[in-house]
């Protein structure tokens, strides 16, 4: 009989996690594993993810791959799950020793890379690394977004003292809100030189606002993750750079590692899947294309 390895992501409605699931699906096909695709419908729904994990454990799988939404909250449930089944972590950490293996992009590092990209863009547009910048976060209380913000702020403070954060906005997850916040930021801060929109949806909204106001030569926008729209913005120079992870690999390798672990094979305890800065200059390299346009179907 086919082994079953469910993969539990943070938010099934986001494109990023769909890529992870696509990777996992491909691994399932390649390795002849049944891969139920599970997950809450919002990254803020911690409780929902715990319930899904519990249900997944109930169905007696060979192993489980999970991207914990929240570090502390998922700790105990993962510990408990690990007593019955092998658990592989992806993307984000949890306060648990239960992981047999852990494949991640370091989000704090992602934030740092975004700060570097921003400085690079500001330098390119204004000739100096100075000015007002802003940060737009999609939702409050989401671990990975908070880590990106943390890395971004740390890096600015440490390396680019000339870049001053004048606004630190938190939206409600809607692209229109991102757009509204961005237009208001432009209005309120005429001297704005850069913005870090720390996820896909906010980057869409922010990019749209920049395009609307024709400010691509003045304001540097750094996004996180990618889809066609953002790639188009990148090509047009509306967005200066995107920080992209390798979600496809995370999903694929997650399932692969899980299968190996379930068979009792030894697996690496920690794998960094990396975060990369992609700008207009390097966007056409083969690796960038692979990262920017993963095959979802």
């Amino acid at each position: 009989q086919q082994p079953v390895i469910p993969i539990i992501v943070k938010d099934t409605t986001s494109f990023f996690w769909q890529i992870v699931l696509a990777g996992a699906r491909k691994a399932g096909q390649d390795l002849n594993v049944k891969v139920p695709e599970l997950g809450a419908t919002s990254e803020a729904d911690i409780n929902g993810q715990i319930a899904i994990l519990e249900n997944a454990v109930s169905s007696k799988p060979a192993a489980i791959v999970i991207a914990p939404t929240q570090r502390a909250a998922l700790g105990k449930p993962i510990d408990e799950a690990a007593t019955k089944v092998k658990v592989i972590g992806i993307d984000s950490a949890a306060d648990s020793k239960g992981f047999t293996s852990f494949l991640t992009t370091d989000n704090v590092q992602g934030g740092r890379i975004a700060a570097d990209g921003l400085a690079q863009g500001v330098q390119a547009k204004t000739g100096k690394i100075e000015g007002d910048v802003a940060l737009i976060t999609a939702l409050p209380g989401v671990g990975s977004l908070d880590q990106r913000a943390k890395g971004f702020k740390e890096q600015l403070a440490a390396r680019y003292p000339g870049l001053r954060i004048v606004a630190d906005k938190v939206a409600d997850g809607q692209a229109t809100t991102g757009l509204n916040i961005m237009t208001d930021l432009i209005t309120a801060n005429p001297k704005l030189v850069g913005v870090f929109a720390s996820n896909l949806i906010m980057a869409q909204g922010a990019g749209q606002a920049i395009a609307e106001n024709n400010l691509q030569n003045k304001v540097t926008v750094i996004g996180f993750d990618s889809d066609d729209k953002l790639v188009k913005f990148l090509g047009q120079g509306v967005i200066y750079a995107l920080v992209v992870q390798d979600p496809y690999r995370m999903g694929y390798d997650g399932v692969k590692t899980a299968l190996a672990a379930s068979k009792g094979e030894k697996v690496a305890e920690f794998v960094d899947t990396g975060a990369n800065l992609i700008t207009k200059d390097n966007m056409n390299s083969a690796r960038s294309q692979e990262l920017l346009s993963p095959k979802v179907k």
Binding site: T13, Q174, A175, T176, T187, A188, E212, D227
Partner: protein
Amino acid sequence: MTTAAATAPVAPQTKPSTGLGFLMSLTLLGLLLAMWIALSLATDTFLTANNFANLMRQAALWAIIAMGQTFVIITAGIDLSVGAVIGFCSVIVAMLLQGGFPVWASVLITLGVGVAIGLFHGFGIVKMGLPPFIMTLATMTALRGIGLLMTNGATISITVDRFTDFSRGALLGVPNLFWMVILVAVPAFVLLHLSRWGRYIYAVGSNAEAARLSGVNVSVVIFLAYTVSAMLAAFAGILTAARIGVGVATTGDGWELQSIASSVIGGTSLFGAVGSVHGPLIGSFLLTTIANGANLLNINPFWQRIITGGLIIVIVYFDQMRRRRR
């Protein structure tokens, strides 16, 4: 008293908004103007042509769905699906456009989808006897699922520039999006306040049995109200797609509550028979102004929520006071 007071235990008796309605919404308009004046004094960026254009664009989408929602609420119903319809229709219109349909056809077909959703709501409520809350909650859940399924959770970029440029354009200095509000508000006003169908909507919300015994076809009226709401939500979905340049099934999440809030702040009673077209318009501008002002004042986003909550209480309290004194 009966109806309103019987059901709304403590809500003070509000007067209906026919006839003198316009006068009544003056308080609200006054509060809005007061906020505008305060913001103009507090910031030097609020009172700029550019910011006003932004404000209008931002308020436009909420205003349109709030007007539709009001039709439903006046019949003593509720439409929880508006947010989901927006997401769903943004996907539909994006797919049609990317599938090569001309803009006019894509827009018309999407509006047709909205009408179909509204008719389905009417069917569930009238023919199956489901409570409006349940019927529209079910479609809200299902439509998001269908939208996600169609897009596989991804966003669909719209590459037809003529379509996306529209949301950025302006005519006579007024943003196109705001012209769209007017395009909706004028017929909505005529329908609700000047036509006999509008009267029937109020009658059904006040006492469906009396309306029926007066020869009003209550079923048709309910179909009408939900169709208007869903069609306007579809229209808002099209405009959202134009504004953000993509179709996303999850966009408009939570907007059902926003639209109800705009409507209720604008004086609509959830017990039916009380409401207007201009009320929700002002209501949505109030909510937008709070957000815009907080952004311009660079208020911490957490404080922003606290202030929004407080202002909602203050605004509605003053509005109620004024109404009661009338």
